[in-house]
Structure formats: structure tokens, C-alpha cells
């Protein structure tokens, strides 16, 4: 028997309705029910961060979040950030620093970095490293990712200072 429960929530700024199983994860809902495949399935147990999304302003692992618990909440995925002017500096910095190699960890890294920058506008390398402790990358060795995040914070700060 597979019971479903209807939920309503805001996804990347748009109200959304979905019928989800009681033990379904938000990750499965995003990818298989709604059809947004930008959020990646890596480990399915909160170790790799590839499925990081923002829920009510805080980053979480979508694989550990119950889909039913999304009811009434506000979710932002990488698809939402791709159209977001505030993340432009971050996206450009990832490209400029070559912080993307195979790309599988990238959505989670960008979402997690966005959360960091929302908490701390101009992080140093130590803060960037602490923020992505829960995001595994098997290609880059992290250095370029950390540099991109620090650079994005600095650029946003410089833009702010010019205003």
C-alpha cells in the first residue's frame, strides 16, 4: 500500500501542488514528481551534499527531508538560483575559477555557497571551507571552489561599496 498526501508549497517563487508518498524524500519529489533534475542524488544519506536545497532560508539535504514536510514551506533549488540576479556573481566566479569539473557536485555547492553568502556576505577561505564541509567533490580538490566562493563574496562587496 502506498499512501499519498497532498502538499502545497512555494518552489522557486511559484506555488506548487504535489501528491507525495509518506516516506518519499523531497529529493525524489523534486526529481521524479515535479521533474526538476538539477538537484542531484549522490549518496541518499546526507553525506555528500549534492542534493542541497534551501528551505525557509536555510540549506538542507533534500534526501533527508520528508516530502510531506515541505507543506507550506518555501523551497529554492538550483533552478531557482539560475534565474536569480543575486547569485550572478557566484555563478560567474565558479566559471572564472574553473570550479566545475564533472559538474555533479556543482548544484549542491552553488546552493550551499548561496546560503553561506546570505549569512556572511564576505567570507574568508576558512568560512568557505567550513560551509562546504557537507559537500563532497571528487574532481577539483576543493581549492577552486573555495576560491570561487571567496571571490564571489568579495565581488558582491565591491559592487556594494561602489553604490
Amino acid at each position: 500500500m502506498s499512501l499519498t498526501h497532498e502538499i502545497h508549497f512555494r518552489l522557486n517563487g511559484v506555488m506548487q501542488r504535489a501528491a507525495v508518498g509518506l516516506q518519499m524524500s523531497a529529493l525524489q519529489m523534486l526529481r521524479e514528481v515535479i521533474g526538476l533534475a538539477g538537484t542531484k542524488y549522490g549518496c541518499g544519506e546526507g553525506e555528500c551534499g549534492a542534493c542541497t536545497i534551501i528551505v525557509d532560508g536555510a540549506s538542507v539535504n533534500a534526501c533527508l527531508l520528508f516530502a510531506v514536510d515541505c507543506d507550506g514551506r518555501e523551497l529554492t533549488t538550483i533552478e531557482g538560483l539560475a534565474r536569480n540576479a543575486q547569485t550572478e556573481a557566484l555563478r560567474k566566479a565558479f566559471v572564472a575559477h574553473g570550479a566545475v569539473q564533472c559538474g555533479f557536485c556543482t548544484p549542491g555547492m552553488v546552493v550551499q555557497a548561496t546560503h553561506l553568502l546570505s549569512q556572511q556576505a564576505n567570507p574568508d577561505a576558512t568560512a568557505a571551507k567550513r560551509a562546504i564541509e557537507g559537500n563532497l567533490c571528487r574532481c577539483t580538490g576543493y581549492l577552486k571552489i573555495v576560491e570561487a566562493i571567496v571571490d564571489a563574496g568579495g565581488q558582491a562587496q565591491a559592487t556594494e561599496d561602489r553604490r
Partner: protein
Amino acid sequence: MMATDCVERYLAPTGLAQALAALAEPGGAVVLAGGTDLMPQINAGRLRPATTLLNIRRVQGLAAIALDGDSLVIGALATLAALRSDALVRLHAPLLVEAADHFASDQIRNAATLGGNLCNASPAGDTLPPLLALDAELGLASLGEAGAVLERRLPLAEFFVGPGRTRLAAGELLTAVRLPLPPAGRITRFCKAGTRPALDIATISLAFAARRDDAGRLHEVHLALGAVAPIPLRARRAEALLEGRVLDAALAVEVARAAAGEATPIDDVRATAWYRRELVHNLTRRMLNDVAHA
């Protein structure tokens, strides 16, 4: 087959009495809070059967952190992220802040709750030794006959029975953790050993709390050990050696030996029992030397 196949309904009440009523029904309920441990348990088919999935995350008031007389009261739904940043916790229980800082990853800290960490009752739970060292007391709520919410208090030291098992009675919900406010001269230390700083289950952990008087003597010494026994435990013999004494290098060695002797670890994927005892010994000594020189 997953045990949740027998789950027949989902509830997400906003009131404590409604949540307790659902919990008291025959068939019971699986309690969902942050979900960071429950989801992997479900995926591994390790969930106990129940007819209801009870999401308590919307119950009003259970995430609050506030002072109540001479206690700091932390709601069971307070996230690890909240513990790490809350001004009251930072002021009155920096030991807990340190443990929260070593807890999993940012993403998990944003979802995981203090109540969930306690009720999962893993011997390696990161917040357990610090809360034992701080003399935490739990508020456990249940529904009385007239539908009134009853609360009993239980010292945390009496809460754990074994791995994954607690003295939480049927129909009871952990609602709050109460910490007595620290005395003047309080010293605390936390230490977690693992293979990497983040997202690691403790191989062992230590939490220390004591009061140091003007003459440098230690009082009300608490030394709690994690991941070295079926439940987190206080190293009582080690504590007794420190009581009323001024710490020096020789005493630190003696206490470290006693603490290692009190640990009853097992061999598992993370470490052998022998290695865990060595860690307890060496890290206790190092921690006490640090306290002596602080």
C-alpha cells in the same frame, strides 16, 4: 519490506495536546522532527512499525530557547544550528555550542533537532556527553486523563537504557532540555575524535565541566564519555579523583588512566575497543593538561 508500509496516516499538528493525543493512540506513532536520522532509518528498513507518521515540527513553542528562573530551557525542536548561534546558549552553555559546531555538516545542523539527537539515543550522539556534563534534565510531556498536558522531569543520566533505547514511556514526548545556569568559575571542554572534522560519527567523545575555586581546586567535576559503552556515561571514578584537587600533570595521568578503565567499548567499523580506550586515556590527559594551564 519497509516497516512504514503499515503507516496509515500522516499528522502534522500545531498544538502539543494534539500531538500527544496522536502519540497515545493504540498502534503508536513514529515521531518525525528534523528527519535527518529518521529518513536513513526508513531507507534501511530499520523503523519500528506504527500506524501513524507524526510530524511534530509544526508544534508551537517547542523550538524556543529561554531562561526560566535559574535554568536555561532549550525546546526539543531547537536545531543544532540554533544551538550553535543562540546568544543564551553561547553565554550559559558554551560546551553545547562547541558540540553543535562539531555536529555533522551545515545542512544537517539546519534540520537536525536536539530532541532528535537525544531520542535516537546513539551512544555516539554528539550532544549527549555535553548535556550529561552539564547536568541536563529532560521535560517529558504526556496527556492526562482530562486531556491536560502533564510534564515530568527526568535527569538525563537516567534517560538512556541502551543503544537506541530510552526511558521515554509510551505516549510521552520529549519537549525540553533544562540546564542549570553555570556557577562562577565554570570550566568546560569538549573533545571529539574521528577521522575527519565534519560529518563523522564520533570514535569517542569527551565532555568536561567543573567549577574552579580561587585556590585552583576543582569542584562538581563532571567527565562524560561518548561512544565507549552502550550508553553515554559519566566516568565517576575519574571525577572523584579530581574532586577538591588542584590539577597537575601527575594527577592528569592518574585521572586519564581511571577514565580509560571505566570505558567499556566495543570493536566496530570505526575503531577497535583497544584503540577507543587509548583515545579516552590520551585525550583525557591532554584535555586535563589544557584545563590545568587555562
